[in-house]
């Protein structure tokens, strides 16, 4: 399908199990032949799939960046732009917004980059070692989403 077009940009999303050498190689060639911009929907290293930590889109983006010696434009969490665009859509200011998530890097790190208040839940992708992460800590950490109203002073 991408044989007949000369893209200015290639947008990379996650293909999960459909990633394979042929597809990656085709994309690699297309980027080089057209000097195309690489736009990656995100660059997360891993996620939870079928109950186990599994490769996410990030490692494949990194492979293409390495092969082409290009740096991609990143869109999703933890990119500042992603959070800023979401807040813009809410018509709120950064200091009026709280971010809550399970991922210490994508959710907490990303939100902290634009100075949002952050809450990490101990569900989903949360790992015990997050609690001792020297570089990155949320403002608050709660057992699950049901603890949020209390933290926000609603009960």
């Amino acid at each position: 399908m991408i044989d007949d077009i000369k893209p200015e940009a290639i947008i990379l999303g996650d293909l999960f199990k459909e990633f394979n050498w042929e597809k990656l190689n085709k994309v690699f060639q297309t980027i080089l032949e057209n000097n195309a911009l690489i736009i990656a929907l995100h660059k997360n290293r891993y996620c939870k799939r079928e109950n186990k930590l599994s490769l996410d889109l990030g490692p494949f983006v990194a492979a293409l960046e390495y092969a082409t010696s290009k740096k991609s434009v990143l869109i999703g969490k933890p990119e500042k732009n992603f959070f800023n665009l979401a807040i813009e859509e809410m018509k709120l200011k950064n200091e009026e917004v709280v971010m809550m998530g399970d991922d210490i890097v994508a959710d907490i790190g990303g939100a902290k980059n634009i100075c949002l208040s952050t809450i990490q839940v101990k569900t989903g992708k949360f790992q015990k070692k997050d609690e001792t992460n020297v570089y990155l800590q949320p403002d608050y950490r709660i057992n699950s989403i049901s603890g949020l109203p209390y933290i926000l002073g609603m009960e």
Binding site: C47, N81, R141, S146, M154
Partner: protein, 108 residues
């Protein structure tokens, strides 16, 4: 880092809420999700549901959340594909053509 209440001065008006692993895990809703979201909405909070998922469209995410009976609109969901669309319009290209390639067939 502590588990005390945030010094709540009525200054928070919005919540960016990650979906997977926070509201549900696998196919199971995490206990208290609906009650929490309803309480926030009743307190005038705006909620934007943030996901990094690129394997399904916003519509499918919306439908899944509706099955869980979560009170939200499709436009409350914010994904990299949605952000890319805004980003491309704002910064890079005047005309956007989305080709139905292997990467874009479930793009939006």
């Amino acid at each position: 880092m502590n588990e005390e209440k945030i010094n709540f001065k009525n200054n928070y008006k919005g919540l960016l809420l990650d979906i997977e692993g926070v509201i549900y895990e696998g196919n199971k809703l995490i206990e208290g999700s609906i009650e929490t979201i309803n309480k926030l909405l009743a307190n005038g909070f705006k909620i934007k549901y943030l996901t990094n998922t690129t394997t399904t469209s916003r519509r499918l995410i919306f439908e899944k959340l509706l099955q869980f009976k979560l009170p939200l609109n499709e436009s409350d969901i914010f994904s990299p594909a949605i952000a890319t669309n805004i980003f491309l319009k704002k910064k890079y290209f005047k005309n956007i053509i989305i080709y139905k390639s292997i990467f874009t067939r479930r793009f939006y």
